[in-house]
C-alpha cells in the first residue's frame, strides 16, 4: 500500500474518480472532480488548496547549519536572512544536478530543506566534520499550498500575522485559530500563493479551517493535474520529468547542469567552495551545450495539420510528459520534456531542452506532432520563460 498524507481523511472523500497519483511513495489526488478544469481555474482565479505533504523535509540545525547547506547547494546560503526562503539546486562534484528544492531559514541556526527525493545521505556526507544535526521531518509535517489571487484574503481570515507585509520568498510563524503554523510566500504555480507547514497531528484541523474560511472566496481543493498545468505556465521544472537526478542517471547524457536547466540564477559564482563549483565555472566559461527553453507551437500550423484530416486541433486536456523531438533545418536539435495546452494563455506550450545555439528567444523550430497516427511537424518558436508571470506573484 502507498502511504497516505496527514490530510488523507479530508482529501479521500473528495476524489470523485479515484484518480490518484504516486508521489514519493504517497498517494495524492490527480484530480478531485471528474474534470480538473475548475481546479486549474481556481489557481488563476480564486484559490486552490493543494496537498503537497509528500515533499521530503529535513531540519538542519546547529552552529554549522549554514556552512553545511552552503557547501552542499549552488546558492549562497550565507546570504539567506532569517525568515527568508531560497530556491536552489544542488549538484554532484561534476556540476550535475542531484535535486532542487527550497531552504527556509527558520532560526539563526535552524533551516528546513525540502526536496523531491530522499537527501538524508547526501546531507550527511556533506556534513562530515561539521557541527550540524540533520533530522528528516517529512512525516511529521503536513504541507498545504494555498495558491491563487484570493489566497491572501483567505489566510487573513484565520491569523493576525502581517500577510500583506510578507514578501515573495519570505516566511512567518503564526497561529491560525490556535494552530501553530509556518506560512511561506512560496509555491509551484507562478501565482500569488502561500505554503503552510503544520504539525501532522493538527493537519486535519487546518484543512477544515481553510475550507470553512475559504468557501466564500471560492477555495477549491486541487490535484496534481491542475498543478502540472500551472507549473508549466510558470516555467518551473520537475525532477524525473524535465530532468533526472545525477544520482540516478545511467549515462552522462541523462544528466543536466543548472546552466542547462536555465537555473543559472541559482548558482553563486563568488561564494566559497561547494559541490560542483569548478565544473560549473568551467561550463560557464565555455558556454552550456544545452538550455531549457520555452516553446510555443504556432496555432495556424497546428490547425492546418489537423485540417488535412478533417479535424479541429485535438488538444491535450492534461499536461503531457513524454519526450518530443524538436527540429531545425531538418536536423533534431533537442526535445521537449513536458508541455500542455494553456487554458489561460490559449497556447500550446512546451518546456524543451535545446542545443546551442538554437535556444535564443524567437528562434523558429519544428515540433513533432502525431496527428491521427502520423508523425508530422508543426512550426514553433522559442519563447522566454516563464510563459506566465502575473505581477501579483511578487506584489
Amino acid at each position: 500500500m502507498l502511504k497516505t498524507t496527514p490530510f488523507h481523511s479530508r482529501t479521500a472523500p473528495l476524489v470523485q474518480g479515484q484518480a490518484w497519483r504516486r508521489w514519493a511513495g504517497y498517494m495524492v489526488a490527480s484530480a478531485y472532480e471528474l474534470l480538473h478544469e475548475r481546479e486549474y481555474a481556481a489557481i488563476r482565479n480564486s484559490a486552490a488548496l493543494l496537498d503537497v505533504s509528500p515533499l521530503y523535509k529535513y531540519l538542519v540545525t546547529g552552529p554549522d547549519a549554514v556552512r553545511l547547506l552552503d557547501r552542499m547547494v549552488t546558492r549562497n546560503v550565507t546570504k539567506c536572512g532569517l525568515n527568508q526562503v531560497m530556491y536552489t539546486t544542488w549538484c554532484d562534484v561534476r556540476g550535475k544536478v542531484i535535486d532542487d528544492g527550497t531552504i527556509s531559514r527558520l532560526g539563526e541556526r535552524q533551516f528546513r530543506l525540502t526536496s523531491a527525493e530522499p537527501n538524508l545521505r547526501w546531507l550527511s556526507l556533506n556534513a562530515a566534520g561539521l557541527d550540524a544535526a540533520i533530522e528528516e521531518v517529512s512525516e511529521r509535517i503536513g504541507a498545504l499550498a494555498l495558491q491563487g489571487p484570493l489566497s491572501r484574503a483567505i489566510l487573513a481570515q484565520l491569523c493576525d500575522a502581517d500577510l500583506a507585509g510578507l514578501k515573495y520568498f519570505r516566511l512567518l510563524q503564526t497561529t491560525a485559530r490556535g494552530i501553530p503554523l509556518t506560512i511561506s510566500r512560496t509555491g509551484y504555480t507562478g501565482d500569488l500563493g502561500f505554503e503552510l507547514w503544520v504539525d501532522a497531528s493538527r493537519a486535519v484541523e487546518l484543512w477544515d479551517l481553510l475550507v470553512q474560511a475559504g468557501t466564500a472566496y471560492g477555495i477549491t481543493p486541487a490535484g496534481i493535474w491542475a498543478l502540472d498545468l500551472a507549473r508549466i505556465e510558470a516555467g518551473l521544472v520537475m525532477l524525473d520529468v524535465d530532468y533526472h537526478s545525477a544520482q540516478h542517471a545511467l549515462i552522462p547524457a541523462q544528466e543536466s547542469s543548472p546552466l542547462e536547466l536555465g537555473l543559472e540564477w541559482t548558482v553563486s559564482w563568488d561564494k566559497g567552495p561547494y559541490n560542483g563549483r569548478s565544473a560549473l565555472r568551467a561550463e560557464r566559461e565555455r558556454g552550456a551545450a544545452w538550455r531549457l527553453a520555452g516553446l510555443a507551437v504556432d496555432w495556424e500550423s497546428l490547425e492546418s495539420l489537423y485540417r488535412e484530416v478533417g479535424l479541429p486541433p485535438q488538444l491535450p486536456g492534461i499536461a503531457w510528459r513524454t519526450s518530443v523531438p524538436v527540429y531545425r533545418g531538418g536536423r533534431q536539435i533537442g526535445y521537449a520534456s513536458s508541455g500542455c495546452w494553456s487554458p489561460l494563455l490559449k497556447q500550446f506550450l512546451a518546456l524543451a531542452h535545446l542545443q546551442a545555439p538554437h535556444f535564443a528567444p524567437g528562434t523558429p523550430v519544428r515540433f513533432e506532432l502525431t496527428v491521427e497516427h502520423r508523425r508530422l511537424q508543426a512550426d514553433a518558436r522559442v519563447v522566454k520563460l516563464p510563459f506566465y508571470d502575473p505581477a501579483r506573484k511578487r506584489a
Binding site: E37, R44, A216, G218, W299, P312, L315, W341, L345
Partner: protein, 527 residues
C-alpha cells in the same frame, strides 16, 4: 482645424474595439468614440449595487473568435475565460435534468429520464459538430454577393459552393433542414424527452422573436453550437470580472497598438462631402476628420441616424427601415444575501456553478412565446440563469452572490408600452417563476435590476433592444446582413463603413464583424 485621424470608429462596443485594434496594429491612427463613460456597448460590467458587480447585458462568452484572441494577444490583456460547466433544468414534478460536462455523468443522468435519448445525445452532438465545422469557415469570410459578376464575388461564391459540395449528401441535407426547420421539429427527429428538447430548443430562440416551433429557429441552435467546436480551445464560458472585462481586454490591446479611445464622446453625425465621408461631428460641437469612418452601431443608426438619409439611395433607406430588430429579451440582475436553494437539488452544489435553464417543456417555451406574439411579456418566461459569483468570487462581497437571469420573452412593442410599473411587473413575473423552483429566492434579494428591451435601447443604443443588432433570421444573414449588396462592410457613402453585429456574421461576443470590417478596410486602402 479639426483633429485628423486615419480612421474614426463610432461606438465603443466590442466589434468597434476589435476593428480599432486591427487598424491600429496595421499602423493606422485611429480613435474610438464612445457615448457612455465606459467602453463595451452591451458587454459591460457595472457595480449596480455597492459591492455587487454585474455583466449587465451580455453575460457569457461563447463565440469570441480564436484568431482574434491570438492576433490581439487578449490573454495578455486580461482575457480569462472560466469554465461554465453544467446545465441543470428544474422540472415541475420536483425532479431535474442535469447536463454535465463529464460524458459518463451526463449519459447516466439522461438515461434516468430516457435510455434512448442518452444514446442519441452523443450522436446528435457529433452531427452538430460536423454542421458547425461546415458553417464555421463562413464566419471568417466576407460575404460574396451572389448576384455580382465581380471576380472577387465569383471566387467567394465558388469557395462557398465548393465548401458545401464537400459535405457529402447526408450532411448537406441535415444542414438544409437546420437552415429551414423549427428547432422543436428538428429535435423531434432525434429525441423523445420533452425537457431535453425544450432545453436544446431554448438556445434556438435566444435573442430572436421566434418560438421553438417557428421555422428558422433551428439555425440559431446551430449558431450556438459553433462555440463548442473550439471545445479544447475553450473560448466559451464566463469571463473573470464579467463581460466588461472582455471589452477592457480588447480596449487594452487596441491602446497598446496605439489606438485612442475617448469615452463620453457621443457622435452627432457623420460628415459627408461629395458622397465621401470626411469625419464626424461630436455632440459637443467638436469635429474630427478622417478619410475612413466606421460605425459600430446597428444598421438603423448607421444608415438612418448618423447620416442624412437624403444621401442614400431610396431603396437602401427602405430596406433598412424594413430590417427587423424586434427585441424580445430582458435581463434581471439580482444581488443576493444567500444562494438560491433549489428544491430539486437542495443546498449548495456544482449545479450552482453552471447554467440553470427554466425550460421544463417545449409547450412551456411556446406558451411563453404566445404571450409575446400578442404583445405581452411571458407570464412564465424562459430563463437562462447563472450565478457568476460562484465562478468568480470577486463579483460579490464574500458570502454574498449575484444572479443573472436572461429572460425571454419581453417584447419591445408591449401592449400599452413599457412603464416603470410594467417593468416591475415583469421583474415580479421573473422572481415568482424562479421562486417556484427556489422558494428562498425572494427573501434573499438585496437588490434587483430589471432590464427590458426599452432599457437596453436607452442604455446601450441597440435599436428596439435587439441584442444581436438585428434579428438572426435567415432573411437577415450572410449576404443579406444587413442588406444585399451592402454586406461587405461598405455603405453607399465612400469611406463610410459598418462593423457592428448588424453585419455578417452577427451577434454574440464574437468580434468577427469588427475583424472582417477592419481587414476589408485595410485591403481597400492598399488598392
Amino acid at each position: 482645424m479639426p483633429q485628423r485621424y486615419d480612421a474614426i470608429l463610432i461606438g465603443g462596443g466590442h466589434n468597434a474595439l476589435v476593428a480599432a485594434a486591427y487598424l491600429a496594429r496595421a499602423g493606422r491612427r485611429v480613435v474610438v468614440l464612445e457615448r457612455r463613460p465606459l467602453v463595451g456597448g452591451a458587454a459591460v460590467t457595472e457595480e449596480i449595487f455597492p459591492g455587487f458587480k454585474f455583466s449587465v447585458f451580455s453575460y457569457v462568452v461563447s463565440l469570441l473568435r480564436p484568431e482574434i484572441i491570438r492576433d490581439l494577444e487578449l490573454p495578455r490583456h486580461g482575457l480569462q475565460i472560466l469554465p461554465l460547466e453544467s446545465t441543470v433544468v428544474p422540472l415541475d414534478n420536483g425532479d431535474h435534468l442535469g447536463l454535465w460536462s463529464d460524458p459518463d455523468q451526463s449519459r447516466r443522468e439522461l438515461a434516468r429520464h430516457s435510455p434512448l435519448d442518452a444514446e442519441a445525445a452523443p450522436l446528435f452532438g457529433r452531427l452538430m459538430h460536423h454542421m458547425a465545422m461546415a458553417v464555421k469557415p463562413i464566419l471568417a469570410m466576407v460575404p460574396p454577393d451572389p448576384t455580382s459578376l465581380a471576380p472577387s464575388d465569383l471566387r467567394g461564391m465558388l469557395r462557398f459552393a465548393g465548401h458545401f459540395r464537400s459535405l457529402g449528401a447526408e450532411r448537406f441535407h441535415a444542414l438544409h433542414k437546420l437552415m429551414t426547420m423549427a428547432s422543436a421539429d428538428y429535435l423531434d427527429e432525434w429525441f423523445e424527452l420533452d425537457c431535453l428538447k425544450a432545453t436544446k430548443a431554448a438556445s434556438g430562440i435566444i435573442g430572436t422573436f421566434l418560438g421553438p416551433r417557428s421555422p428558422g429557429s433551428a439555425y440559431v441552435l446551430l449558431h450556438h453550437y459553433m462555440g463548442e467546436i473550439d471545445g479544447a480551445f475553450r473560448a466559451w464560458g464566463f469571463q473573470k470580472g464579467g463581460t466588461g472585462a472582455i471589452s477592457e481586454a480588447i480596449a487594452s490591446a487596441a491602446r497598446a497598438a496605439g489606438a485612442e479611445i475617448r469615452t463620453e464622446a457621443p457622435v452627432e453625425r457623420v460628415l459627408v462631402r461629395n458622397g465621401r465621408a470626411t469625419g464626424v461631428a461630436l455632440g459637443s460641437g467638436e469635429e474630427l476628420a478622417a478619410p475612413v469612418v466606421v460605425s459600430g452601431l446597428d444598421p438603423r443608426r448607421t444608415f438612418l441616424e448618423l447620416v442624412d438619409r437624403a444621401l442614400l439611395p431610396e431603396d437602401v433607406v427602405t430596406a433598412i427601415e424594413r430590417f427587423k430588430f424586434r427585441g424580445s429579451s430582458g435581463k434581471v440582475n439580482l444581488a443576493l444575501s444567500e444562494l438560491p436553494n433549489f428544491s430539486c437539488l437542495p443546498g449548495p452544489g456544482p449545479h450552482l456553478r453552471g447554467a440553470i435553464s427554466i425550460s421544463p417543456s417545449v409547450d412551456y417555451l411556446e406558451r411563453a412565446y404566445d404571450d409575446a406574439k400578442y404583445g405581452e411579456f411571458s407570464r412564465e418566461p424562459y430563463m437562462d440563469v447563472a450565478i457568476p459569483s460562484m465562478i468568480d468570487p470577486g463579483m460579490a462581497p464574500p458570502g454574498k452572490h449575484v444572479l443573472s437571469a436572461f429572460v425571454q420573452y419581453a417584447p419591445y412593442q408591449l401592449n400599452g408600452g413599457w412603464s416603470d410599473a410594467r417593468r416591475e411587473a415583469f421583474g415580479d413575473a421573473v422572481v415568482n417563476t424562479l421562486a417556484r423552483y427556489a422558494p428562498n429566492l425572494p427573501g434573499a434579494i438585496i437588490g434587483r435590476q430589471v432590464i427590458t428591451p426599452v432599457d437596453i435601447e436607452r442604455i446601450t443604443g441597440l435599436s428596439e433592444g435587439n441584442i444581436f443588432q438585428g434579428e438572426l433570421a435567415l432573411s437577415q444573414l450572410f449576404f443579406l446582413r444587413p442588406l444585399p449588396a451592402w454586406a461587405s462592410y461598405r455603405t453607399p457613402i465612400r469611406g463610410y463603413w459598418q462593423c457592428g453585429a448588424g453585419t455578417h456574421p452577427g451577434g454574440g461576443i464574437m468580434g468577427a464583424s469588427g475583424r472582417l470590417a477592419a481587414l476589408e478596410i485595410l485591403k481597400g486602402s492598399r488598392a
